[in-house]
Structure formats: structure tokens, C-alpha cells
């Protein structure tokens, strides 16, 4: 009872704070009262103290490198960035019509998407709680729009489920919940939970199951108007004479369980995928372009680093032209922020410490593949009323994602035609690009027969063949044992990037690691 009283007064207190001092103050109050979780990102970085003209060489113009460069320059450092590619962004990357992508081995792909269409081969969605990415988007003027993660009208598909006929997410979701709730209600009713649930809680449990599972007054999950409101109708409600709807049959518990389609029911419920998710308007590389507008003048492009030499007084980096023209160049600075993926760093001559070297040499990068397939019309909208969202399948493509923008447009549209890992990704990686795309079209046609008629052109990005990463994200051999050493200052260098974070493969990891690295660098420089 006293707890209840305390909660009332907390709420009253918070309301007073919120009204008087604004939402930021309320948030801070909530934090100190233990309600809200503090995010690792607490607002724009503020590096106080004069670096006295110290210089920093940033290796890599991905998000980690550009974040570091932007904030270091703001704090008074002299900054130079060396980048292997001809453009900024690293894995923050978008392919559009007119782009040519050459993967390792010299396999060329000319992207033929219609104007305005694109595919994000790397990061493609931003979680609501990636405050660093979201804040930089705001600061850099990158417009964001919602990314549809869960669409109840999208499909769950397995070749061995329901004779390979794709099922609407909505039906599997409603029926799984309904049947499981009905089963549990039976257990409660038969006193099967008497040992674990109090009588009062048992009644509440029954009430909650009735709501959650859409059970009838007998706690049964049955075909009805009520359940059709969730799983869909046999005949949709309409207007006029013939408007009365017809409820749909439910699927049996056994059919649903044996289908294994339940395996993707909560994919969108993890914190990284909970709504609201975001994507930049026009492509993920809008973030890269936003950074490049600010720090582009610091970047030397087409610079392939071949040597990193640390001394007591500074760092000298040797580089050559990425396109292979002759001639070594050097760049020097007092300090270095190195965002080069360890897959590549392990092949660069350097004099990092023994332990750091061991860690660099132990980190391969994961293989992964994405497909951007353009179709002559948005058949998924026009024929199947799927607007954004993702269908899941056990086919080698793993999933199909529908664009979260330009809904209802008449022209060609691009699907993410597949996104896979592991043994599947290795095998796609070994195929020539045009064969990969042909396979993705063949597989996708099993879910959307319109593929065959409507397919126009496609592109695939297989991350083990991306020349400037050699994989998708860093795989630690023993993160527990190695992480502290990898994150620590080594001579005059600090490592940064998604690999030096607990948000692997997320842009937030790259940004937060860069902010942390420069915070420590600055503390070292100003002797704080």
C-alpha cells in the first residue's frame, strides 16, 4: 500500500517538473528517479580544453572516421582523413541507377534502376534508440522517414509449410496467439497452474488470455467475427446490399506448429526492430553525404594505406593511390584515429603493440549478401496490398523487403530481394553477380509469381567481395578477453568503428565508438 502511495507522489512530482521546466527536465528527473534508462549517447559531445594545435590523422571516411573528424576539428584540432574509396561513407552506402559497382575479382555490375529508386546494400534501417545516429541526422539536416519493419499483410513462407503457399503474417500471428492462449486457459481451468499462480492471478491470467488470444466466453479460439477482426475475413466487410462480411476459418494449432512459420513472429519485437524505425529519405548514404558536406574538405580520397608507423612524437602513414598508379605518399600527425576494418588492417604494415597486433590478426569479417531487384511496377502493392514491411522465407533469399517510401507510385519499384548470411552467403558470394540475381528472381517467384513477368534488372552486393571491407562486420574471436586492449590507446593511435563497440554492424556502434575514442584522446592531449 505504501508503495502505491509513493508511486502516486512520484507521478505527481514528475508532472509538476514536466509542466514547469519542459520535457528535457522531466526526462532528467525520470532518470534520477530510476524510471528511464540513460542511453550511451547523451547529446552532442563537448570537448573542453585547448588542444594547442594538435593534429590528428583519421584513417577511413566512414561514419566513425567522419564523426571523429567533425568533432575533433570543432574542438580545435588539425584533422586530415585518408579514405580508400573515391567517396565518403564506407559501409553507409546506397546504389542507384547509373552507378557501376566493381567487386573483388573485377566483376562489374551496372545498376539500372529508374530515377529515384535505390537499394541500401549495407545498413538499411535505424532503430528508435540509436540516439547518436538520429542526432547526427538532425544536426546534419538528413531528413528521415519511417521504415516499416512489421507488416501484418506481408508473408511468412516456407517451402515445406502449407504446400509452399505463402501465409499472411496476420493469420499466423493471430492463430498462434489464439491457440496458445486457449491451451493455457485450459491448463488454468484444470487447475494445472495451482502450484505456480495464485488464485487471484489465475483469474487475471484467464482475463488476459481472453484479451490477448481473442478467446470467446468459453475461453476457446474459434472462427468468429471477433477473431476475423485480427486474422482477416473470408469476405471483407463492405457497403450496401452485399456488405455483410463472412468470418474466416482458423488454422489448426497442429498445422501452425508444424509449419514452423512461428519462427518469425517476434522478429520485429526486439528492441533493435521495434517501431518506430527510420531510414533517410532518398537512401542511407544521405547520412554520409551529410557528413561529407561538413568534413569533405579534410578527406584525401583514393588513398590506400600501406603502412602505419608510430613513434614517440607522432604517426606517419604511407599510402598509395587506390587505383594502382605509382608513387608512395605520406601523411603525418601527432595522433591517429584508425577506423580501418581489422580484416584489412591485418595486411597493413604497422608497429602497434604485440597484443593489439594479435587482436587485429584474429578478426575475420562476416559474409552476407543483399539483393536490389527492380520490377516494372509495384505488384506487391497493386496486387497484394503490401505497403512496406518484410516477408520471411526459408528459401536462400531469407526475406523480401518492400520499400517504405513512394507508396502507390506507378513506375518501377525496387525490392530488397534477399538478405542472407552463413553458408548461404558463402555460396552466393561464389556465384557471378548475374547468376546471383537470376537465383534471387527464381526464388522470389515462389512467393510472388509476378516476379517472372515484372522483373526488370537487379544488383547484388556480396560483402566478402566488397573491396574496401572484405566482409560485412568484424567477428571477434574472444571479445571478452580482447575488447579492452583493442579499445585502448596504442601508442598514439585509437581504434574506432562498429567493431570497437557492442553494437556490431550498426552505424550507432561506429558513431559511439568514435565519440568515445576522441573523448579519451582529448583527455590525453589536454592532460585532463
Amino acid at each position: 500500500m505504501s508503495g502505491f502511495q509513493t508511486e502516486m507522489s512520484r507521478r505527481q512530482l514528475l508532472t509538476m517538473i514536466g509542466t514547469a521546466a519542459g520535457s528535457a527536465a522531466m526526462y532528467n528527473a525520470m532518470t534520477s528517479l530510476g524510471f528511464a534508462q540513460e542511453s550511451p549517447y547523451s547529446g552532442p559531445i563537448n570537448l573542453e580544453g585547448d588542444p594547442n594545435g594538435a593534429s590528428v590523422l583519421v584513417l577511413g571516411a566512414g561514419l566513425a572516421g567522419m564523426t571523429a573528424a567533425l568533432e575533433l576539428r570543432n574542438a580545435g584540432y588539425t584533422v586530415q582523413i585518408l579514405e580508400y574509396r573515391e567517396k565518403a561513407g564506407g559501409r553507409c552506402w546506397t546504389l542507384r541507377g547509373g552507378d557501376k559497382y566493381v567487386e573483388l575479382g573485377g566483376f562489374e555490375q551496372d545498376v539500372k534502376f529508374a530515377e529515384g529508386n535505390y537499394i541500401n546494400p549495407g545498413p538499411w534501417r535505424i532503430p528508435h534508440h540509436h540516439y547518436g545516429v538520429l542526432d547526427y541526422c538532425k544536426r546534419l539536416g538528413v531528413k528521415l522517414e519511417p521504415f516499416m519493419q512489421v507488416n501484418y499483410n506481408a508473408y511468412l513462407h516456407r517451402t515445406d509449410a502449407f504446400d509452399g503457399k505463402p501465409q499472411r503474417f496476420r493469420e499466423i500471428d493471430a492463430d498462434y496467439r489464439g491457440h496458445v492462449s486457449e491451451l493455457l486457459a485450459k491448463v488454468v481451468d484444470q487447475n494445472g497452474l495451482d502450484e505456480v499462480v495464485t488464485a487471484e492471478d489465475a483469474q487475471l491470467l484467464l482475463d488476459s488470455l481472453k484479451t490477448y488470444g481473442v478467446l470467446d466466453d468459453n475461453y476457446a479460439y474459434v472462427k468468429s467475427e471477433d477473431t476475423s477482426e485480427f486474422r482477416g475475413w473470408e469476405k471483407d466487410p463492405g457497403g450496401g446490399v452485399d456488405g455483410k462480411p463472412v468470418p474466416s476459418e482458423t488454422l489448426s494449432m497442429s498445422d501452425i506448429l508444424q509449419s514452423r512459420l512461428w519462427s518469425n513472429l517476434v522478429t520485429g519485437s526486439s528492441i533493435d526492430h521495434q517501431g518506430t524505425m527510420f531510414q533517410p529519405v532518398g537512401g542511407m548514404d544521405m547520412i554520409a553525404q551529410g557528413f561529407e558536406k561538413v568534413v569533405g574538405d579534410l578527406i584525401t580520397y583514393n588513398a590506400k594505406v600501406t603502412k602505419i608507423d608510430q613513434s614517440d612524437s607522432g604517426v606517419t602513414v604511407t599510402y598509395v593511390d587506390s587505383n594502382g598508379t605509382e608513387g608512395e605518399m605520406t601523411a603525418s600527425a601527432d595522433y591517429c584515429i584508425c577506423t580501418i576494418p581489422f580484416s584489412i588492417l591485418g595486411q597493413i604494415e604497422h608497429n602497434f603493440s604485440g597484443p593489439m597486433t594479435g587482436i587485429i590478426n584474429s578478426m575475420p569479417y562476416a559474409g552476407s549478401i543483399k539483393f536490389g531487384l527492380e520490377f516494372k511496377r509495384r505488384f506487391w502493392e497493386q496486387d497484394e496490398h503490401i505497403y512496406g514491411g518484410i516477408s520471411y522465407t526459408n528459401l536462400p533469399i531469407s526475406q523480401i523487403s518492400y520499400p517504405s517510401n513512394d507508396y502507390f507510385s506507378d513506375g518501377p519499384g525496387v525490392l530488397l530481394g534477399g538478405y542472407s548470411w552463413g553458408a548461404t552467403a558463402y555460396q552466393f558470394n561464389a556465384l557471378p553477380p548475374e547468376e546471383r540475381v537470376a537465383k534471387a528472381v527464381e526464388y522470389g517467384a515462389q512467393i510472388h509469381p509476378q516476379y517472372t513477368e515484372e522483373f526488370s534488372n537487379g544488383v547484388s552486393v556480396s560483402w566478402h567481395r566488397v573491396p574496401w571491407v572484405l566482409g560485412c562486420y568484424g567477428l571477434w574471436s574472444d571479445k571478452e578477453a580482447q575488447y579492452a586492449t583493442a579499445a585502448a590507446m596504442d601508442g598514439r593511435t585509437l581504434m574506432a568503428g562498429e567493431h570497437i563497440s557492442y553494437l556490431p554492424a550498426w552505424q550507432e556502434g561506429a558513431i559511439l565508438s568514435a565519440l568515445d575514442a576522441i573523448t579519451r584522446l582529448h583527455a590525453h592531449v589536454v592532460g585532463a
Binding site: 536462400p396 558463402y426 558470394n429
Partner: protein, 131 residues
């Protein structure tokens, strides 16, 4: 427009009939957790060639994948076996997606292809012992 349709039709036709050389295209993607090819050349073409390239020539970008062609490191199969099982630097450990038999088969293939001529047998037992 016409050439696109032709290219697409050709690619789709390629998939419809198993014309992809001797590699069992129909063994691709059989298992999301493992490779299922059994022949050394098929295994090479299903995974190794992805990085080391179809003729074992390797590739160079910001980093590089070494050539397996004319590679003296293949003289002793133990080195290749160890690398495939446990990885090294940018090369991932592949012991989780390949069986002992598959590794023995593909090492045997690499050692007798791409200008390499190490014809002594690669035993499955050596792979098992190296795990």
C-alpha cells in the same frame, strides 16, 4: 530494352536447365548451416572461389585475398587444413560449415589445380586431428 530482356531470359534459362558446367548447381543452398557439396572442385566453386577467385588468382582491393595458384604453402596439406578449419586474419574459420570429408576433398583439389601439383593424398584423419 531488348538486350535487357535477352540477358534476363538467358539468365533465367541458365537456371532452368543445369547448364552450369560440371558443378552441381542443384546442390547449392541445400542447407543454410552447412555446405553439402562432396566433390572437391564443387566445394571450391561453392565457397573458396568466392574470395580466392575461380582460377585461384586471388584479388586485391584495400586488402587482398592471396592467390592459391602456384602457391608453395600448399606443399604440406596441414597448413591449408589448419587455415580452413580455424581461419587466419581476414579468412574466417570454416570448420563450422564444412565437414572433415569436405575439407580433405577441397584441399586435395586445390593442391592439384591452378598450377599446383601436390598429388599426395590428403587424409580425412588429418583434418579430424586438426580440429
Amino acid at each position: 530494352m531488348k538486350s535487357f530482356k535477352f540477358a534476363v531470359a538467358a539468365a533465367v534459362a541458365l537456371m532452368a536447365s543445369p547448364v552450369i558446367a560440371q558443378s552441381d548447381a542443384d546442390m547449392m543452398f541445400e542447407d543454410p548451416g552447412m555446405l553439402t557439396q562432396t566433390d572437391g572442385e564443387d566445394i571450391y566453386n561453392a565457397i573458396c572461389s568466392g574470395c580466392h577467385m575461380p582460377e585461384g588468382q586471388g584479388a586485391v582491393g584495400a586488402g587482398m585475398y592471396p592467390a592459391l595458384a602456384d602457391n608453395p604453402n600448399l606443399e604440406y596439406p596441414g597448413y591449408a587444413i589448419y587455415l580452413i578449419l580455424h581461419g587466419q586474419k581476414a579468412m574466417p574459420a570454416l570448420g563450422g560449415v564444412l565437414s572433415d570429408e569436405q575439407i580433405a576433398a577441397v584441399v586435395g583439389y586445390i593442391r592439384t589445380s591452378f598450377g599446383n601439383d601436390y598429388a599426395d593424398e590428403v587424409s580425412v584423419q588429418e583434418v579430424t586431428d586438426t580440429r
